[in-house]
Amino acid sequence: MSAEPGPPLPQPITSVKSPFRMDYTYVAGAGRSVFLRGLAERKLLARRCPGCSQVYLPPPEFCSRCLTELEAPFELDGRGTIATFCVVSFPFPGQTIEAPYVVAHIHHHGADTRLMHLIGDVAPDEVRIGMEVEPVWVGEDQLTTSMTSIRHYRPTGVAIGSESTRA
């Protein structure tokens, strides 16, 4: 290039749009599909490991601790306790629920694993670890093979107290 002075340098810009998008196909697999098909019938289907007795909700096909194939699914009544929770107060792009709202890990009675869902019908500042909750299902016409078949969990009004954590 010539060394002659050219036109002045442009004023630097400070930021560029850099969107990131990845289109996937989620494949549930045999085990998760059993659980999801249960949701479309208002059923919470758990499965037990014959090797180590761990009860999974939601259940995969094989035990993540000992890799044994899980036993036949059986239904839980849906009640459980809040193992931990988070009040989401911060808006973010793509958010579908108006903040503030509560997301919790729910430890269902009869299961050894925890399931994440929304807590509703209660003010966020009244949610407590150990609170007993039950599922609120959507209407018949909205039931589908998805977690959205449960609108949220709500307190049963029964105080259970703080549960001990599991290994």
Partner: protein, 145 residues
């Protein structure tokens, strides 16, 4: 029993902040001007970077370039959604005249891979609407002989 499946899209609307050298490089694209940046030892890098990848030293002055170069390597691809061209094209490394190293971008030869060759001369084809991002260079195209 067959497995259920469903579409699943992960999307983040990031804004990326840029430093002064990259910011000037991008502002140049908006004006249909191509800049490199001076690195230690007199080398010129394009696209511009804030720090020299070889010595990690801060880069120096911006250097305006003519926007022509030579294809040093390329690979032919079928066009996909989001690609810079609506027909098949080459992704290429272009050694821009007056710079060291190469610049990665698309080369448009009208969908005919027979017109691609290493050593061919190409030039920048600017987008009509430019906003100050790398896509302001729509692609490279062969320099008419």
């Amino acid at each position: 029993m067959t497995s259920l499946s469903a579409p699943y899209t992960v999307e983040f609307p990031f804004d990326r902040t840029v430093g002064p050298k990259v910011g000037t490089f991008l502002a140049g694209l908006r004006e249909a001007r191509l800049f490199g940046v001076r690195a230690p030892g007199g080398r010129v890098l394009c696209p511009a970077v804030e720090f020299d990848p070889e010595t990690a030293e801060e880069t120096g002055e911006l250097v305006e370039l003519a926007g022509e170069g030579t294809v040093v390597s390329w690979t032919w691809v079928s066009t996909r959604e989001g690609d810079p061209l609506p027909h098949d094209f080459a992704w290429a490394l272009v050694a821009i005249d007056g710079t060291d190293g190469s610049f990665f971008h698309a080369v448009d030869v009208g969908g005919d891979p027979g017109r691609m060759s290493t050593g061919m001369r190409v030039r920048v084809r600017w987008r009509e609407v430019r906003v100050g991002e790398i896509g302001d260079i729509g692609c490279f195209e062969p320099v008419p002989v």
